[in-house]
């Protein structure tokens, strides 16, 4: 199998500025207070993902998951280290695509598809399928600003999942969808996984990670804390409750398990 995503010593640091205006900064400097602080959101992370693997990226809030995903997706560039990917990338970053609130769902869909690299013909061919999947109905022609957060996340997911990508990134996609939609997303993502595409899935739901992924990567304060077997990773994060520990397959057996659908987020 070929490498799909290769990260080598990737570090990304952010600078937090406490003051933004000249006045505030002068006052702070005069009082000898700190005006900014730099921290590593992602700190010296290296790993290699093979084509067709499905990775569950886990970690507490603020551990650098979204930043890492943004770098893999190409929105951000690492400060040091390198990231290489193979093929087209599609996916969602932090529940929701880059939508323009003033444009209609239709315009946003077409624009979003084009940014993800779909051609005009490809978009036309898949348009109905995408709208059907998102279950937006007539609302497709109203402004995205008037959508609920769930609806816009659905549309974003629907567009991204229909792109013929080699790598699919999903960042907490199931956090806002309702239960039937979550089930549909998981099924679709399984389809993506089984078609040999690389899947990168961020979730706090141990059950769905167990169902979807073949490997878990855990970030802790930006550092790679764990990389390996799914159940061990979940145990590492202490996301397993006692019943799961005894019967790791309990969640998978019950298709409607809340945990599996990400209801514990």
């Amino acid at each position: 199998m070929a490498d799909s995503i290769v990260l080598e010593n990737v570090t990304k640091s952010f600078t937090v500025r406490y003051q933004r205006t000249m006045k505030q900064m002068t006052v702070a400097k005069a009082k000898g207070r700190q005006t900014s602080r730099t921290f590593n959101a992602v700190d010296d992370v290296s790993f290699t993902v093979q084509q067709g693997e499905s990775i569950g990226l886990m970690g507490l809030n603020g551990s650098g998951k979204s930043t890492l995903l943004k770098m893999i997706n190409g929105v951000m560039r690492p400060d040091t280290g390198s990231i290489l990917t193979r093929g087209r990338i599609a996916g969602l970053i932090a529940t929701g695509a880059g939508f323009h609130p003033q444009l209609s769902g239709r315009e946003n869909l077409i624009l979003n598809a084009a940014i993800l690299g779909m051609s005009e013909a490809e978009t036309a061919r898949k348009f109905d399928e995408i709208v059907d999947f998102a279950e937006i109905g007539d609302k497709i022609d109203s402004q995205v600003g008037h959508y609920s957060s769930g609806q816009s996340a659905r549309l974003g997911f629907a567009v991204a999942i229909h792109v013929d990508s080699d790598i699919f990134l999903a960042d907490e996609v199931l956090a806002v969808g309702d239960r039937p939609f979550k089930k549909k997303c998981l099924a679709k993502m399984e389809e993506v996984r089984d078609s040999g595409r690389t899947l990168f899935y961020v979730s706090h739901a141990a059950g769905s990670v167990r169902r979807m992924c073949t490997r878990v990567i855990v970030l802790q304060d930006g550092r790679l804390a764990f990389d390996g077997d799914v159940n061990e990773g979940i145990r590492f994060l202490k996301y397993d409750d006692s019943t799961d520990e005894n019967e790791p397959d309990a969640a998978e057996m019950d298709d409607d398990s809340d945990e599996e659908l990400g209801a514990d987020i």
Binding site: I72, M76, R88, A114, E120, S195, G196
Partner: protein, 303 residues
Amino acid sequence: MTDVVLPTGETGIASERPLPPLQAPSANNGLLAVFQRRYLLKLLVRREISARYQGSFLGLLWSYVNPLSQFAIYYFIVGEIFQLHEDIPNFALHMFSAIVIVHFFTETFNAGTRSIVRNRQIVQKMSMPREMFPVASMLVSLYHVGPQLVILFVACLLNGWTPDVEGILALVLGLLLIMVLGTALALLFSAANVFFRDVQSFVNILTNLVRFGVPMIYSYAMVDERFGSLAQYYLLNPIANAVLMFQRAFWIGTAPDPEELARTDLPSHLLQRGVIMLGVSLVILAIGQLVFSRLEKKIPERL
């Protein structure tokens, strides 16, 4: 980009076609990539055209109300109060041909500077050449130049204008000059605006300066007369050159004796100057791209 229909069978699709190369996911950027992805550019331009005046009753008409109101104000103040009608033949056309090109520049500059901040929802979440946004702003402004040119055309024809080859060349050169220069400055300032929103206020002041730094409400003949040999420094302003180019294309042709007017009211070697200025603008564009690429790395996190 690719149009390949992927066979999504149960066995891996990867094995059924040649593997794409491993590369940095953010590598496909730069102005070149903007023009490789023309479909996306077209969508952005179309979207911008419909979104620029969204929620306003007059909508697209604002693009014409704005230059027309400027025209009316200047015509009244400069023409009626300062009595410049007398000194400049066909003063209205002198001013209007300048307003069209100056308005193109200021719109590109203003909208371009705001473009990345305005589109932050997309910039923060999707990977694409970010040069798209300033370039799209320029193209949207160019789109509005069309109808204004038609109005200018008709107005000139009504005033006994006969188009000539040199004039058409000057028109094309003037437009090209502002397209390149506008894009270059939009690139530079749109990236800077992400770091300090003060930039867009500063750009407002600059555009005000631009209006008075070009021979619009006064003629080049006056600059030449008052400044003497210093007038050559006035001509270092590329926008002033573009304005003169437009006046060469339209206003000159409406005079009873165009050649005489061109001799007295325009600098010599106008077209050559235009070509040089176009070259200068291309250099500024290259610098703009370099600076943009440098700043771009920090754009998503500073938005």
